[in-house]
Symmetry: C2
Subunit: 119 residues, 2 copies
DNA sequence: ACCAGTACCGACTATTTGGTAAGTGCCAAA
DNA sequence: TTTGGCACTTACCAAATAGTCGGTACTGGT
C-alpha cells in the first residue's frame, strides 16, 4: 500500500530530508552549485560515503541536480533544482531559529545524559 | 569533547527534534495541551514506548512540560513551553511547504527503490 | 616511477533507532 | 470477579543509519 499518508506537512518534509546531512547539503547548495569535494569540506564530519549516498538520494528525489563535466579527472557539480530551492527557502526560518537559539540548544544538549548524538 | 558546534542553525533544530515522532508531537501540542493517550491516538503508528521516550526527552530538553494531576488513575498532560512554542512556530512554514507539496512528495517516495521509510 | 587528487563503489562492521511484548499499580464498569 | 483503561517500565530484537577501509580509472606534479 506504500502508506504515503502524511498527517501533517512535516512528514512530507522529513520524507525528503530524512538523513543526518541532507539538510546541510541543501543549505550549502542554496548559495550556489558546488562540487563534491567542496561539499565534503563544507559539511564537516560527513564521511565520503554518506555524502555521496545522500547526494544520490537527493538527486533521485529531484531536490538537486548532478552536473557531470565529462572530463577525465572527474569534475562533477551539484545544484538545487527548483523543487530543492523551494525547500531551501522553507528551511531558512528553521535555520534562523537555530541560530537565535544556538547557545540555548548547546546548553540543553550538553546537559543531557541521554546517549544521543552528542557523544 | 561534546562537540556542540552547529554550522548552521539547522543542526541545532535537529539536535532537538531528532526523533522520528518528535516534530509530530510538537505539532500536535501546538494546538493545546494533550494527555498521553490522546497523543498516542493523534500520532498514528507511534508505539507507546517511543511516544513516552520522546515525551521524556522533549521534557528534558525544555520543549514541553509534563503536568501530573496526581490522581489515582493517572492523569498526565503535556504542553509546549515558551521554547517549544517558538519552535512550533518555526515548524509551521515547513508544515505548509509539506502540505503544498504533498502529492509531489508522495510520488517521489513511491517511486524510489531505496529501502527507506516508505516501507 | 610514485604519490596525490578527482568522484565514486562495495563489503563489512558498529551504532543508533524503533518496535514488540510483557508487567506494574490502581480504579471503574460489566 | 474479570476486563479494560491509565501512564509508564523493562527486556529483548530488528532494522535503519552511519562509519571504516580498500579499490577503480585517470591525470598531474615531482
Amino acid at each position: 500500500m506504500t502508506e504515503t499518508n502524511f498527517q501533517c506537512g512535516l512528514e512530507a518534509v522529513l520524507a525528503i530530508l530524512g538523513g543526518k546531512w541532507k539538510p546541510l547539503v541543501v543549505y550549502h547548495l542554496a548559495s550556489g552549485p558546488k562540487r563534491t569535494g567542496q561539499l565534503r569540506r563544507l559539511v564537516t564530519n560527513v564521511s565520503e560515503k554518506m555524502l555521496i549516498q545522500h547526494l544520490k538520494e537527493l538527486t533521485d528525489d529531484g531536490v538537486i541536480r548532478r552536473i557531470d563535466f565529462q572530463t577525465v579527472p572527474p569534475h562533477v557539480e551539484y545544484e538545487l533544482t527548483d523543487f530543492g530551492q523551494s525547500l531551501a527557502g522553507v528551511l531558512a526560518p528553521l535555520c534562523e531559529w537555530g541560530t537565535h537559539h544556538t547557545s540555548e540548544v548547546a546548553l540543553i544538549v550538553q546537559n543531557r545524559s541521554r546517549p544521543s548524538a552528542g557523544a
